[in-house]
Symmetry: C2
Subunit: 395 residues, 2 copies
């Protein structure tokens, strides 16, 4: 009695989540300290203390009916204004509360946007490797996912191929930078060329191509550089943002969609997004967490912990002879599998109590993802398992 | 650039929400105390103090990574178990954590269920007057809403007509008791007859007809009686529950779906619901509120406040000569409009600073809904406006 579409979703369901459940089982058998679970992007760093204090302050100092009652479907005005002002300060935008739609995380932000724009058969382009859930999100609204093949040299997107894949049915392009699963940050040059392609082609096909920039990892980068701001390059940009990673709150489901002022059909878009938020069953982003955000906009997770993990894991992988592009952000590394069948490779890794995710789950077979948002000890202790895995396939 | 489907949703969008915005504008002009806003079911009673204390306790005493990290997509096991146990105590069920899927409110619960079961063109039957959002929820998955006409005598559902509207495409029936917008509680006799019809007809058509019981108002009733427990009457039952009304937390988006143990295809259903929760972008119900629920399961809003409002408003309506069925639950009353055009009637009411919602928004023209989850003063002070409205249409 399950719908046909849902059966397909369940069958093709998240390999990562399945592994998350595997990990819990293995931890029960071998002890958590003997399982090296690199499967899920569940932050290991704790939410900043300020987040807790802000939540308690909001609970203590806000009238319950204001705090817990229905807000506008797009969220509290004061919260949206605070977020707009932060963008103005950081990126020199001139946003107001009207540019911000509060959502139950970036996943909701992308869903309400795709629901608002996709007719059945419309195409959405993604760059492999890509976050596997995009396929479901696009499928939810009967859109067609169109994949640009990976550029395994440096995992910057393959823009020549993008150009060849745009058709009159192209409605949107999704990018994700810092990237899950590669940890690569799209450069200003990449974004500039990407924007040129999209500007040319939307003019040619006669309707906007929306660029959806999925940025839950914006604050997580490990070097002395700036992450380019996508609307600086392309007007028709939406940013799906989440506080899941920057504040270590993935289970609380709080984020927002930034609608750039120069998006084509801005007013209709906001009406559609508000309606989509309501009728999809989100109704509004959870109020308490909305009210917490303005108080912690200047807080962030301690990125140095992830950097240390990145450095240690990358060094181990290099020492053992794995091949991978050094990640500059997020908390993932995406090495090459030692056999072409990445699923068999990740299955074999379980023998060494290593949980790693096949690149196929990201549309990029032959690779695997390790989420290094784990304790530093886990990384250090996983070395012998990573060595054994290497040796198994070097014989 | 808005999708065709979304355009239709926006155009047919919630009359109630539009009125909510009207109300805010009118309050700014006339002063909030001079506007009698009966439009939205936004609880006026405050969340019990225990809720705040429980939230602070959870924040103070739970490790941030456990509290805020990704749980299973169906929710925390301990929370689901506590809710199952409460059902077992109250209703004599034998539920475990496996019967409970935590959701971001009842709206999400209904959406993930409909997503799990509906193929395009499948029919879902509702009884007018019905909560207008059902139309969108069903449309989200390309289902067809089939409406059973209202029984305006006592607003118990018209079960003879139900029988005539079941077809081989019928996948589900939605009921809502205590009812929005009528405040009527479906009797045991109603549920028993309803169950008989569904049992006969699902046998005849050869596949299950699922009964979705939407119960956000379960705790809100004003008399010395029990609200019948729907799974006692019919095996293929799901309960969409929300803490929005029982604990006055509508903006926090916390509820659950109860999947009765005897639902056909139970295991597949749970897999589908878990997947639907994830890919729709909910991912999981907000963690903090999940963790609060077991601590406040025995708490409830002070129902006597709503009862007093119900009594006062009903008495005023009777005294002024309005016609309506006395509501036994929820916080709505659904009187007959004084002209057949209920939209024109509700527009006219604005002249007297009365915000009331046309019955058309609930598939029941010729009536109007008043949400009496307002201050008692608002009800008392609205009397002269209700009188003036009556006189306007009695001339």
């Amino acid at each position: 009695m399950i719908s046909d579409k849902m059966k397909a979703f369940v069958n093709g369901s998240s390999a990562i989540r399945a592994m998350f459940e595997d990990g819990k089982k293995m931890a029960a058998i071998y002890g958590a300290e003997n399982v090296y679970d690199f499967s899920l992007g569940n932050p290991s760093v704790e939410a900043p203390e300020e987040v807790k204090q802000a939540a308690i302050e909001v609970l203590n100092n806000t009238s319950p009916n204001v705090l817990h009652g229905y807000p506008n479907n797009v969220g509290f005005e004061d919260v949206r204004l605070a977020i707009a002002n932060q963008s103005n300060k950081q990126h020199g935008t001139s946003y107001t509360e009207n540019n911000i739609v509060m959502t139950t995380g970036a996943a909701a932000a992308i869903n309400i946007l795709l629901k608002s724009i996709l007719n059945p058969g419309d195409e959405v382009i993604v760059f492999a490797p890509y976050f596997g859930e995009y396929k479901s999100y696009i499928g939810n609204y009967d859109g067609i996912i169109v994949t640009v093949s990976p550029n395994t040299k440096d995992f910057q997107p393959n823009l020549a191929e993008l150009n060849s894949k745009i058709t009159p049915r192209t409605k949107a392009v999704i990018i994700n930078t810092p990237n899950n699963p590669t940890g690569v940050i799209y450069s200003a040059k990449t974004l500039s060329t990407l924007a040129d392609v999209l500007k040319d082609r939307q003019k040619e096909i006669g309707h906007p191509i929306y660029l959806i920039s999925d940025e839950p990892y914006r604050e997580l980068f490990y070097g002395d550089f700036e992450i380019p701001f996508v609307p600086d390059f392309y007007d028709n940009t939406f940013i799906a943002y989440s506080y899941s990673k920057s504040l270590c709150l993935p289970g609380e489901r709080i984020g927002h969609l930034t609608v750039n002022s120069k998006v084509d059909g801005f007013d209709d878009m906001i009406s559609a997004l508000s309606c989509a938020n309501r009728i999809s069953g989100f109704v509004n982003a959870p109020n308490l967490w909305q009210k917490v955000i303005p108080k912690v906009l200047d807080c962030s997770v301690d990125v140095s912990i992830y950097k240390k993990n990145r450095d240690t894991l990358y060094d181990i992988l290099m020492e053992l002879g794995y091949e991978c592009v050094k990640p500059d952000g997020a908390f993932y590394v995406f090495p090459k599998a030692l056999i072409s069948d990445d699923k068999a490779f990740c299955d074999a890794a379980k023998e060494f109590r290593l949980l790693i995710v096949p690149g196929s789950a990201f549309g990029c077979p032959g690779y695997f993802r390790m989420a290094y948002c784990v304790s530093h000890e886990t990384i250090v202790n996983s070395k012998e398992s990573l060595r054994a895995l290497k040796e198994k396939f070097s014989r």
